[in-house]
């Protein structure tokens, strides 16, 4: 049996999915968190049932790729659990009537029951059940309240006999609401007032700058703290062990690969370039701390509901780039890792927007893993180095966006976005989400880092890097002002950008060269994981177009920097 979780965006489908199946999925307080379907299983009266979490949709006529996925899934379900936002019963019922029309066995989870109670909305569940002709169960997904009853009543999901024509639906819903819902007059809560203040331009714009500034500082503070007080000391404890291995191996090919070069007879984790030295140090002592701090802050911002407000405030700017405000969400996610960022472009309405958003993300949005190493690299020059990298990428982002908007046919639709109420994040849920993202880095990132260091060593030994360096030298040395050896980083960058930046460490580059190399490495081509997701989302043809923009853009920007700096 296949059970579908459907409903409007941001009503708690993903949280309920996690509750039912024990499979963790990302849930955040903004519409459009889920953009593809996730399958899980649960036990239902002794038998295995498949449960599918799908993207949210307001109606069965999709307006974005994410909604398309949801509507297509409808054919697959044997039973639909519609998750309904109890604080917005009226408009959620529109989808209910549409689902009823499709003659699918239906059961309703009346979620956010706690919030409804809190703001003084009373719903007569029994009467609603009778009117709709399907079971209705109040739930609070985040605490698990009502989930047991939902499961026990799942077998009673049924095809309702209710019928309504298209233009009667809203009138019918109005009558139902009058019978089942009563709202005690309510005052605007403090969070609501704060919510409005953060969207009014006069207060909202300064606040957004403050939020960004604080986010940046907190990420840096926690990241640096973890590195200095935990991870570097841990590696110091590990050093004697590696030295032992080094002595046991003796000089030779294996030593070069596993340990790398000893610098003045010692291990230098940032320069030795062995799989067991730099290969472990980069992901664990340079990247992981920032992955942790970045996602801690991002998850907090997501869960309290700030992102849609930022989307509205920045809408104007995004229009110049052929996008609208919502596109800031994929870009911010891309700052963590480009892969989920590009996936999230599915919330945009048109293919043109998705192409622009994905291209801009892949080309100008460096991921945390890469940034962490850049920070380690130019950090010794103070914030200045990192600042230059950021400013250059930002300017390139704007110029490229404006150009793409001018060159590509078609126009961009306007923003149309529901702004959820501010919610106080549940720490349990937040930490679980953080852990999921860290796990993703450990599983999908770290092996590639090790592989990258390994391949780099092999390529060096075979003389491939020297060869490519010589061929590419007119561009690398001539135009970009880098050294021939940076060719190695550009090759490995196809695999993993953090390793690529890490490979610059032993080269003794000047600050100017480091800035140029960091910018070029961000822009010139996506890493293999990002490449794969762009091909999947946009197709090979658009990926080629996108890649063209990247290569040309990277060389242009790099050369310009070389001239200016």
């Amino acid at each position: 049996m296949k059970i579908l979780l459907m409903g409007n965006p941001n009503v708690g489908k993903s949280v309920i999915f996690s509750r039912l199946t024990g499979t963790d999925v990302i849930a955040s307080n903004y519409p459009g968190t889920t953009v593809e379907f996730t399958k899980g299983t649960m036990k239902l009266s002794g038998k295995r049932a498949e449960v599918i979490d799908v993207p949210g949709t307001y109606a069965l006529e999709p307006i974005s790729k994410a909604e398309e996925v949801a509507v297509e899934m409808l054919h697959e379900g044997d039973v639909v659990i519609q998750v309904v936002d109890a604080t917005n019963l009226e408009r959620n019922l529109y989808l209910t009537l549409q689902l009823i029309e499709k003659k699918v066995p239906l059961i309703i989870a009346l979620n956010l029951w706690d919030e409804a109670k809190h703001i003084g909305i009373k719903i007569d569940v029994k009467k609603l059940e009778k009117l709709l002709g399907v079971p209705v169960v109040p739930t609070v997904a985040v605490t698990g309240e009502g989930i047991k009853e939902l499961v026990s009543r799942l077998p009673h999901a049924r095809i309702s006999a209710y019928r309504s024509t298209d233009h009667e639906k809203w009138a019918d819903i109005g009558r139902m609401i009058a019978q089942v819902q009563s709202v005690t007059h309510r005052h605007h809560t403090l969070l609501e007032k704060l919510g409005d203040l953060s969207i009014k331009p006069l207060t909202g714009i300064p606040l957004s700058i403050l939020v960004m500034y604080l986010a940046f500082q907190i990420i840096r503070f926690i990241g640096e703290g973890l590195i200095g007080y935990i991870f570097e000391p841990l590696f110091e404890l590990y050093t004697p062990l590696v030295m032992k291995i080094s002595q046991l191996l003796g000089p030779g090919f294996l030593h070069d690969i596993l340990i790398g070069t000893l610098i003045k007879g010692e291990i230098d984790y940032t320069q030795s370039m062995g799989v067991l030295t730099t290969g472990l140090f980069v992901p664990f002592a340079m990247v992981l701390p920032y992955v942790f701090s970045f996602y801690l802050v991002l998850s907090f911002v997501e869960d309290c509901g700030y992102l849609p407000r930022l989307a509205v405030l920045i809408d104007n700017v995004m229009h110049r780039l052929g996008l609208h405000g919502s596109a800031i969400i994929p870009m911010l996610l891309g700052l963590g890792c480009n892969v989920p960022g590009i996936l999230a472009t599915r919330i945009l309405e048109t293919r043109r927007q998705r192409f622009i958003a994905a291209t801009l993300t892949a080309i100008c949005v460096p991921c945390t893993a890469m940034l962490a190493v850049v920070a380690g690299l130019v950090g010794k020059y103070g914030l200045q180095g990192l600042g230059m990298v950021f400013i250059t990428l930002f300017i390139a982002w704007v110029i490229l966006g404006v150009l793409l908007d001018k060159l590509l046919k078609g126009e961009s639709p306007e923003i149309f976005l529901e702004i959820p109420p501010y919610r106080i994040p549940y720490w349990g849920a937040l930490l679980k989400k953080l852990w999921m993202r860290i796990k993703y880095f450990l599983k999908e990132g770290v092996p590639y880092v090790l592989l990258g260091v390994f391949i780099a060593n092999v390529l060096y030994t075979l003389g491939v890097i020297d060869f490519v360096g010589r061929i590419a030298s007119p561009v690398i040395v001539g135009l970009l002002g880098l050294t021939k050896e940076t060719a190695a980083a550009l090759i490995i960058g196809f695999l993993r950008k953090d390793v690529a930046v890490g490979m610059l460490l032993p080269l003794g580059l000047t600050m100017k060269q480091l800035i140029i190399a960091s910018v070029v490495l961000t822009m010139y081509f996506p890493c293999v994981a990002t490449f794969a997701i762009i091909v999947r989302e946009l197709g090979v043809k658009d990926m080629m177009k996108s890649a063209g923009v990247m290569i040309v853009g990277a060389i242009l920007v790099g050369s310009l920097l070389n001239l200016i700096l």
């Binding site: 408009r91 331009p201 509205v312 809408d315 405000g325 923003i415 149309f416 976005l417």
Partner: protein, 78 residues
């Protein structure tokens, strides 16, 4: 007097009287509560003709100016 949602003043409650535009557009905004007869309050209006934000049925919805110009309202309680 009927004015567009774009012209409505901040914080002034109004009732939606008429919505022009295609069927798809009407259905889409209806799904978020913007329908004839609903009371709305404009919460914010972003500078340089950026989007506006309205409260309807206790929910905040952001929409572009072009859309706001297709929604006609009448101020209430003067």
């Amino acid at each position: 007097m009927e004015i567009t949602l774009d012209e409505l003043e901040i914080e002034r409650p109004a009732e939606i009287k008429r919505i022009v535009g295609g069927f798809g557009f009407q259905r889409r905004i209806a799904a978020l509560g913007l329908r004839v007869g609903k009371i709305v309050r404009k919460v914010a209006s972003e500078p340089w003709r950026g989007p506006i934000v309205v409260e309807v049925d206790g929910t905040r919805v952001a929409l572009g100016r072009g859309m706001a110009m297709k929604i006609f309202v009448e101020e209430i309680g003067e």
